[in-house]
Symmetry: C2
Subunit: 339 residues, 2 copies
C-alpha cells in the first residue's frame, strides 16, 4: 500500500502562518447526526424600514443614513475599537501583560439594495466596493496611530452576521493582530532569504500544478490553498506583486472585483443557497515601514461542509489541538472549478 | 481620564501560547439582532434505543456495546486518525509539505445513563471518568508511534456534538499538534530560564490576586485566565507540579473530578441550561522525553455569551486578525464564582 493524499490521514504545512492542518480524507463517509442549520430562503425586500443600514433609516446610535446610491461608509456605532481612550499599559510579573488599544471600526454598505449580496451585484457595483476599500485603506493609513487595517465581511446568520443588508467591516488599530503578524514574519523571512515574495511565488507554483486553481483572470487567481482548513476555504491572490490596496491600478481593482464576484457566484451554486462565509484581505501594515515582502490577498472561510444545512464544527480537537478537515483541498477545488 | 481594564479597549498577552486577545469592555452594551440558538429542554431518557453509545446497542460500524455499568471506551468507528496507513511524506519546493499521520481515535462513554451529563453525575462517577482518562493515557503512551494524547469533550449541539449521550473523545497521534506544541515551547523556555514551571507559577500568582479564581480545592484551582478568549472560558490548573495523568495520585484525581463537577454545575446554573462547551486536557507529550516543564491543565471553551440562546461568534475579525471579547475576564470570574 502506498501513501496517498486522497485516502490516508496526513498533516499539511501552511508556509504563510507556520501552522498545520490534519487531513482525514477517509472520514468523508462518516454519517452526520448532529445539528443542522436552518435554511433561510426568504424573498428579501429591496428596502427594510427596520434595517439600520438601509438608506434614509435611523441607526442604533441615532444618526440618519443618507440616501446613498452606491457604497456608504460610517463609523460603527458599537465599535470594538475606539479612538477616544487614554493610553496605558499594565505589566505585573510574567503573567499579567496588557496594553490599551486605540482603533477605528467602520461599516461599509456594499449597496443601497437590502436584498442583494456580492454575487448578485453587477461587476461595476463590486468594482465600487473595491474602490471604497482602497479609499478607506488609504485614508486610515494616513493616521499616525493606525498601523494595521483589517477589511472583512461576515456573510450569513451562521457567521454571526446580524444584518442581511450587504455590508462589510473595517477594524483599524494600533497593533498588528496575530494572524497578519504571523504572515508578516514569514513573508519577511522568505523575502530576506530568497529575495522573492512568498505569495506570488506560491501563486506561480499553483499555476503550474493547476489542480487547486478554481478561476483566473489577468491579475488574480482563485484557488484552494494546499493547506486549507475550512472545507471550501479559498484564496484570491495576485499573479504579480501587489503590496496593498493603495498600490492597485484600476485594472487590478476591476480584476479583484471580477474574482470576488465569480467566486461568490460559484459558492452560491455549490449548495443552492446564499453561501455564508467570513472573508477578508491581508495586506501590508500601515505602520510607515516599507514592506516589500507583502502581497495583498483575500481569504474566504466558509463553514458549510456537506450541504446548506450541515456545517463543519471547529470544536474539540480543533480548538485544543489542530484544525482538521475531511475533504481534501484538491477535491474541493475540483468541485468549485466545475460549477 | 485614566486607562482602566473595565472600561477601555485593550490587548492582553497569553504567556502560555504567545498570542493576544482584544478586549472591548465598552461593547457589552451592543444590541444583538443576529442568530439565536434554539434552546432544547427536552426530558432526556435514560436509555435511547437509537443511540450508538447506550449499553447493548449496535454501533454504526456494526459492533455491539457491552452492558457496561460505569465508563466504556471503544475505538471510534469513523476516527479521523487510524493506525493502519502506510507512512509517507511529500515535499515539493517551499509550499507543498505534507506527511502521513498515524493515530488512534477513541470514544469514552462517561456513564451508561443516556440522560446524564458531567454535572449530573456523582463525585464518584466523575472520579471514574478521570481514572479512565488516566488508564487510556498510560496505555496509549506505551505505544511507540503515539507522541501526543489529546483528551477532550464536545458538549452540546452548538459545539458539533452529534450525540447527547455523555461522552468524550481521545485523539492520540504521531505529531504534537499546534496548540500543545506552542505551550510546550513556551513552558520549556520558562523552565530553562527560570527553573520553574509556568503553569504552577501562574496559579500561585492568581491565588494571590484572587479576582479571577472561581473555586479551589486542595490540588486544583478553577479560574478565568487573564487572557481568556471565550466569554466564560475557564481553566482547571494544579497548585503544585503534576506533569500528566500518569503522575496523579488518587487524591489528586478525586480533586480533579471535584473541580470538573463543581465548574460544570456552575456553568449549568449560569443561563439555566445544559451548558455547551469544548473542554480538554493539555499535558506532557508521550514522546519518551522527560518534560519536567509541563503541568497538566484542563481548559473549557464555552460559546455562550449573554444567555442560553446568544452565543459569541468567533468570525470575521477573529478568524482574520485576533480573538476578541467584550466581557472582561474579571467580570466573568465574578459571575461564575457567585453562582
Ligand atoms: O467526532 P464527532 O463528535 O462526530 O465530531 C465533532 O468533533 C470532532 C473533534 O473535535 C470535530 O472534528 C467535528 O467537526 C465535530 O463535529
Ligand atoms: O460586528 P457585528 O457584525 O455585530 O458582529 C460580528 O462580527 C464581529 C467581528 O468579526 C464579531 O466580533 C462578532 O462576534 C460577530 O457577531
Amino acid at each position: 500500500m502506498k501513501f496517498s493524499f486522497e485516502e490516508h490521514s496526513h498533516r499539511r504545512f501552511n508556509p504563510f502562518t507556520g501552522s498545520y492542518v490534519q487531513v482525514s480524507p477517509h472520514r468523508s463517509k462518516r454519517p452526520w447526526q448532529g445539528q443542522q442549520e436552518k435554511i433561510v430562503k426568504s424573498e428579501p425586500v429591496t428596502y427594510d424600514p427596520e434595517c439600520f443600514l438601509c438608506p434614509g433609516n435611523t441607526r442604533v446610535g441615532g444618526e440618519v443614513n443618507p440616501d446613498y446610491t452606491s457604497t456608504f461608509v460610517f463609523t460603527n456605532d458599537f465599535g470594538a475599537l475606539t479612538q477616544d481612550i487614554p493610553s496605558g499599559s499594565y505589566e505585573d510579573g510574567d503573567f499579567f501583560k496588557a496594553k490599551s488599544e486605540r482603533g477605528i471600526c467602520k461599516v461599509i454598505c456594499f449597496s443601497p439594495d437590502h436584498s442583494k449580496t456580492i454575487p448578485q451585484l453587477s461587476q461595476n457595483e463590486v468594482f465600487e466596493v473595491v474602490k471604497t476599500w482602497r479609499k478607506e485603506y488609504m485614508e486610515l493609513s494616513e493616521l499616525d496611530f493606525i498601523n494595521y487595517v483589517q477589511i472583512f465581511e461576515n456573510k450569513g446568520e451562521v457567521m454571526g452576521c446580524s444584518n442581511p443588508h450587504p455590508h462589510g467591516q473595517i477594524w483599524a488599530q494600533e497593533s498588528i493582530p496575530d494572524e497578519p503578524l504571523k504572515k508578516q514574519q514569514r513573508f519577511l523571512d522568505y523575502y530576506q532569504s530568497k529575495g522573492k515574495n512568498m505569495v506570488t511565488e506560491y501563486v506561480q507554483a499553483e499555476l503550474v500544478k493547476k489542480e487547486r486553481i478554481i478561476y483566473e483572470n489577468d491579475s488574480f487567481v482563485v484557488l484552494v490553498p494546499f493547506w486549507a482548513v475550512w472545507p471550501f476555504e479559498t484564496m484570491i491572490a495576485p499573479k504579480n506583486h501587489i503590496q496593498c490596496l493603495a498600490k492597485m491600478s484600476d485594472t487590478q481593482m476591476a480584476d479583484l472585483a471580477d474574482a470576488y464576484r465569480t467566486l461568490t457566484i460559484k459558492y452560491d451554486r455549490l449548495f443552492d443557497v446564499s453561501f455564508p462565509y467570513s472573508a477578508g484581505i491581508h495586506q501590508a501594515p500601515t505602520d510607515g515601514k516599507d514592506h516589500p515582502e507583502w502581497d495583498l490577498h483575500m481569504v474566504f472561510y466558509p463553514p458549510l461542509l456537506r450541504s446548506a444545512s450541515v456545517k463543519k464544527f471547529m470544536v474539540g480537537y480543533e480548538m485544543l489541538a489542530n484544525p482538521q478537515r475531511d475533504l481534501t483541498a484538491e477535491k474541493a477545488a475540483g468541485v468549485l472549478r466545475d460549477l
